[in-house]
């Protein structure tokens, strides 16, 4: 009898241990650890993933990391992309969908030297000088279309602000929540203009996965997004723990800049007075507008159906 009881106990504990085994997930970022990812790191540090039995490995990216293609090819389950990348990817035959949008207002902007006296994006484009912008990117093409008689010379965008610090006629693309703060820290005040103000407003820093995977793993995905939302609520309240962890991963951005960036980006993530449960949610209208804009820019040949581009959780 004792032997049978012992055997049953062992069996139960084995089943319990197997059940408790956390699901391992890889989550690929498209840039270095910075406040734009603060909520994700908070979800990991504060145990939001863990309490849902998820073991999420967050990997940093860099310039040109092909996160969308990696997700589409199932090399990683979840990743970060720009909303326009999701549309282009689906138009090219993938089933990548957006699940959570960090930025409701896209912080992509153009950063200039204030002494040049520019008052608008139009001034930047219609004045001689150099503008570093990602060649062929939807925001670059959109702006070139908006200001057809531009006089500025385009050069490749390689990330960082080294040239901006040394060349007074140099302007560059940026996240208004990040690079201008770093430039100021290095003694070069920067003025920035939001591209969204010119009419190109894709969601920014969007969490993506394959639709096929999401449909097969609805509960796991819901748990993941719940944990992410929890992480972002906490990061908006208290960014220090995640900032401290991110400074170690990305020493190029110091703790003070991280703190400032976390503060500045709040209004881009959640509009004043909106309930926290609205964090990350997307609308079909916004996706539809983006599809039309990318089609007009000839970046896609077919229009993906807007409500198949995302899923809110």
């Amino acid at each position: 009898m004792k032997i049978i009881l012992g055997f049953v106990l062992i069996l139960f504990s084995a089943i319990a241990a197997w059940g408790a085994q956390a699901t391992q997930l890889q989550f690929a970022l498209n840039w270095k650890a910075e406040p734009e990812f603060g909520g994700f790191y908070t979800a990991k540090l504060s145990g939001s993933f863990q309490k849902r039995n998820l073991d999420v490995e967050i990997t940093e990216g860099g310039a040109g990391t092909p996160v969308v293609q990696m997700v589409a090819n199932s090399k990683v389950r979840f990743g970060i992309a720009a909303a326009d990348e999701v549309v282009i990817s689906q138009a090219r035959g993938t089933d990548v969908v957006a699940l959570f949008a960090v930025y409701q207002i896209n912080p992509q902007g153009i950063m200039v030297h204030p002494e040049r006296g520019f008052k608008s994006l139009g001034d930047v484009f219609n004045s001689p000088g150099t503008l570093a912008i990602q060649s062929g990117s939807p925001h670059a093409l959109f702006l070139q279309n908006q200001f057809p008689g531009y006089k500025v010379t385009f050069v490749p965008y390689a990330g960082g602000i080294a040239t901006f610090l040394t060349d007074p006629n140099f302007s560059q693309q940026c996240f208004v929540t990040s690079e201008p703060l770093i430039a100021r820290k290095k003694g070069k005040p920067a003025q920035s203009f939001l591209i969204a103000d010119a009419g190109f407003k894709p969601y920014g820093t969007v969490m993506i996965a394959r639709r096929q995977y999401v449909e097969k793993n609805q509960k796991q995905t819901r748990d993941l997004i719940d944990a992410v939302r929890e992480g972002w609520i906490e990061y908006l309240r208290a960014p220090e723990p995640a900032n401290n962890a991110m400074v170690k991963l990305n020493p190029a951005m110091d703790a003070v800049s991280m703190k400032e960036a976390a503060e500045v980006q709040k209004s881009f993530i959640l509009r004043a007075g909106a309930p926290a449960q609205e964090l990350g949610k997307m609308t079909v209208e916004r996706w539809g507008t983006l599809v039309n804009q990318l089609y007009d820019l000839k970046l896609i040949k077919t229009k993906p159906v807007a409500d198949k581009l995302f899923q809110n959780f």
Binding site: G64, P66, V68, Q69, A72, N73, E85, I88, S89, R92, G93, T94, T130, Q134, S135, G136, S137, T153, F154, V155, P156, A158, G160, A162, T163, T166, L299
Partner: protein, 257 residues
Amino acid sequence: MNFKTKISSLLPPLLPLILGMALAEIAVRSGWVPSYLIPAPSEVIRSLIDDRVELAVAAWTTLSSALAGLLLSFTTGTLFAIALSSSDLARRAFYPYAVFFQTVPIISIAPLLVIWFGFGQPTVIASAAIVSVFPIIASTLLGLKSTEPALIDLFALYSASARQMLLMLKIPFALPQIFSGLRIASGLAVVGAIVGEFIGGGGLGSVVDSARTQQRIDRVFAAVLISALLGAVLVGAVNLISALTLGSWHTSERKAS
């Protein structure tokens, strides 16, 4: 060479290409490989046709930068190798630094090149020159050190000056190695130019960067195909110059009679 011989000499390199393209086409069309990972060759050809003007302009920009870089690396590399060959002490002192050019990860210093030389062609030429200079130094040095001792003795016997020895004996004797280094360097110059263009702008590097951003993998492959052709053109040009220079007297370029 008659038509039949021409076909039979072209067939061996063409066959694997045709077979590979046919397999890729079948794999993509049948859905085994999604087209956003590997484009069907027909899509690449379509891109070559549709974007021909942009690709041609970009190819010309890259070729001119690669050529300028190669010329720069050839001039500096050859002079450097001559200087090193003239003295054992100089060779021991400076050759290890020449190795630096072989090992330098160009992609990591490319952003610095922009700060030093500015955006545009100067950065691209510098990148092409840095990447292609080492094979020229190494091969030229090897060639200059490989002169037959008996011939050196003969020149010494006739009281030839160091300059005569260099220009009339050592350099002609080193030409096969110099051309060998140039062949390697010419392919590398194209690679260096494209890497430089990623940061400095213009040319095929810019086309690849832009196409990658737009997830246009067919266009990336079209640009890569053209860059391979540019490399082949440069190597072919070096082969031609080598044959014209050495054909009449050196065994490496003499045709079997």
